[in-house]
């Protein structure tokens, strides 16, 4: 059994929450007491039948306003897979929440209301999916019941979306007609959609191949913590604790530590207290080196024959996430995995309209939810990969030096 993380995106009322409720309900992940609470609330709101959407709207403000504000994480499993759903709100003022949910997703379900087809929000969600490099996309054409389960309606939407996918270079796109409210094509294939030949949504989620999304070629090991017991028996023990974010490490590998550039060889690898010959992403391990060199948190151990880039100047797409606008020249901490360095946003090249992909030049600041192309200068060199080539070592956050809040997400180009 493996693990798939996905995000759902759609405009308000496209049926996101209903779809998630349906997946949980039909996979028997909702318990009786939770249903009872739902029934009670649904009655409170005079909706008549139970409102599956209430399952995901966890905060009082959300229930009161009937909308999803923050990312909610939901879980269900089938005998094949465990699923983690990030349910993110769709409105433009919550772009940052979608970016957050998208950052760890293996797959995005983009919901389209069959009656409305591809709309501005669809483009925006697709652009974010592409910016965040979510490997797989499912276009779920919902509310098919309201268009008489029409194949023509579905086909036209597929044609329209294919154009969006092409312009954004989305690699793996699958189209599924559904009705979340009625459960058509969610778990079982629906006879009302007999013309559709593909799998049901759940079947697809269970079977989509995700193992190959893990990069086993470019080995990267950010050091989180140095273990030095300094007891009489373990006097010389010095282990570097961290998670292999990509690639494979073996005993005897010749490695380089960045940014220092010092070289050594792997003496031993420990996994869960046992020595192993090799370890791979995403395992958390302890690595020992032959030489006593200076390594601390924030350093990255890589193989000498496959190194990340090293620079003090980063070209990024930056999604701004703070109410306070970004002012070029302001200083921020930049955190990339375990490395934290001081940085300054030097120059905004352009602002990207996330609805249309149009570039607006000459902007001097960025506000909440803006996506900009910018140059960031760092106080010391940062070992990185481009976000496109290695998501695990190409995404960094910006932290405000005074408020300590996470204010930006950088995709390094």
């Amino acid at each position: 059994m493996d693990l798939l993380r996905f995000i759902t995106a759609g405009s308000v009322d496209d049926g996101k929450s209903t779809l998630i409720g349906r997946l949980l309900y039909d996979s028997k992940s909702i318990m009786i007491d939770q249903l009872a609470a739902l029934e009670k609330q649904s009655k409170n709101k005079e909706l008549g039948e139970i409102d599956l959407a209430l399952l995901t709207d966890g905060l009082r403000a959300e229930r009161e306003q009937g909308i999803t504000i923050d990312v909610a994480y939901k879980y269900f499993s089938t005998p094949k897979r465990k699923f983690i759903i990030a349910d993110a709100p769709g409105h433009i003022q919550y772009t940052r929440n979608m970016v957050t949910g998208a950052s760890t997703a293996d797959l995005a379900i983009i919901l389209i209301d069959a009656r409305n087809g591809v709309v501005e929000q669809t483009r925006r969600h697709s652009i974010i999916t592409s910016l965040l490099q979510i490997p797989h996309v499912v276009v779920a054409v919902n509310k098919m019941d309201l268009v008489n389960y029409s194949q023509d309606v579905f086909n036209n939407i597929v044609i329209d979306y294919a154009e969006v996918a092409r312009s954004l270079e989305l690699k793996d796109v699958t189209y599924i007609p559904i009705s979340a409210v009625h459960g058509d094509n969610i778990v079982e294939k629906s006879s009302k959609l007999a013309w559709y030949e593909g799998p049901s949504l759940l079947r697809f989620l269970e079977e989509v191949e995700i193992q190959k999304d893990i990069n086993l070629t470019d080995a990267r090991f950010p050091v989180q913590y140095v273990i030095r017991p300094q007891t009489p028996e373990l006097h010389d023990y010095r282990g570097y604790a961290g998670k292999i974010i990509s690639g494979i490490y073996r005993k005897g590998d010749v490695v380089t530590v960045q940014p220092s550039g010092l070289q050594s060889t792997i003496k031993a690898i420990e996994l869960g207290g046992k020595e192993v010959e090799e370890a791979f992403a995403p395992q958390s391990v302890i690595i020992h080196l032959e030489d006593d060199i200076d390594i601390s948190r924030g350093d990255i151990i890589v193989k000498t024959d496959n190194q990340p880039k090293l620079s003090q100047e980063l070209e990024v797409f930056l999604c701004w996430m703070d109410n306070k606008p970004l002012v070029p020249g302001n200083k921020y901490w930049l955190q990339l995995n375990s490395r934290v360095v001081r940085s300054v946003v030097k120059n905004i090249e352009y602002k990207l309209d996330v609805n249309t992909l149009q570039k607006e030049y000459g902007v001097t600041s960025a506000g909440l939810n803006d996506v900009i192309r910018a140059t960031i200068k760092t106080a010391s060199p940062v070992p990185y990969d481009t976000y496109k080539s290695l998501r695990e070592n190409g995404g960094a956050i910006l932290i405000d030096e005074t408020s300590h809040v996470t204010v930006g997400a950088c995709m390094i180009q």
Partner: protein, 302 residues
């Protein structure tokens, strides 16, 4: 390439270890909040994997309500002795005395809410800047929205509207003096995941998780253990039933379930077949209001 494929439990384990090491790497004075239940026992197991052969970079902290199951306390002490780590116990009883707090009254007078005072005092006493906890997002709807690194202000309060975005596997632990972070390494685990992990890793648990005979009363469909901490009324009928606990909290606010499960396999079978959530079935304190947990968290609860 199937050689390099990991089981979902390995993914969850590695994520949890990574989070614990981030706490160790980013904070000066972290602590691990240890309740004696299966989730915190799992955290200890994960900490062993994260830091051995070194010592834990944090003490275990138990906020003791005085209403614990004796089996859970014995287990706690044995575990601490076995792993040779430091345990700090702070008692709600003492906070009640020192601060002249009012003990809740009633049939199942629970000190659950008073725990928050002791917790905040303990954080203050030891100047903890991060507290690792065993909360899971599947437990409850407000938890489903909480970050893995959750910043609390000086009053321990959680503000759901001011949560920091949390991207990739990057955790922002920067805080101001007086603030602290609650870190939840098993956020993404479900109850069943925890049990499956306990089975796989052969983690030892207190005996009350397994079926045993116990004197209970039936109250609004829930089985509550007879103890000195609850008030028996004339209408209560004390019966002996074969029960086990799905969660281990206070004797006053944790209900037992009828069960004949004597092994982890039995328990997993029962949980897979059950139709009621862990909190719904066993927490006597969560039914009060739809937003009970959200409110408690805003006030500094775990």
């Amino acid at each position: 390439m199937s050689k390099y494929r990991l089981d979902y439990l390995d993914h969850l384990e590695s994520e949890a270890i990574h989070i614990m090491r981030e706490v160790a790497g980013q904070f000066e004075r972290p602590a691990l909040l240890f309740s004696g239940g299966k989730d915190s026992i799992t955290l200890v197991h994960l900490a062993l994997k994260a830091f051995r052969p070194g010592k834990f970079p944090f003490p275990l902290v138990h906020i003791d309500t005085g209403h614990n199951f004796p089996e859970a306390l014995e287990f706690r002490d044995r575990l601490v002795e076995k792993i040779g780590e430091r345990l700090i116990v702070r008692k709600v009883e003492d906070t009640i005395k020192a601060k002249q707090l009012t003990e809740p009254k009633g049939k199942f007078a629970s000190r659950n809410a008073l725990q928050t005072y002791t917790l905040l005092d303990t954080i203050e006493e030891f100047k903890f800047d991060a507290c690792i906890g065993g909360a899971r997002r599947d437990e409850e709807k407000a938890r489903a929205k909480e970050r893995i690194f959750s910043v609390r202000d000086e009053f321990g309060q959680w503000d759901p509207k001011l949560q920091r975005p949390e991207l990739w596997n990057t955790y922002n632990g920067k805080i101001h003096k007086g603030e602290n972070v609650r870190a939840f390494p098993i956020s993404n685990w479900t109850e069943l995941d925890v049990w499956n992990y306990i089975r796989r890793e052969k983690i030892e648990l207190p005996s009350i998780y397994f079926a045993h005979e116990r004197e209970v009363i039936e109250h609004e469909g829930q089985l509550v253990a007879v103890s000195e901490f609850i008030r028996l009324d004339d209408t209560d009928r004390v019966v002996v039933k074969k029960v086990r606990y799905r969660t281990v909290g206070d004797m006053t606010c944790t209900a037992a379930v009828e069960s004949s499960a004597t092994t982890i396999d039995d328990i997993i079978n029962e949980i897979t077949a059950t139709k009621t959530s862990e909190r719904g079935e066993t927490r006597i304190d969560d039914k009060v209001s739809e937003a009970a947990m959200e409110d408690r968290k805003k006030n500094g609860y775990f």
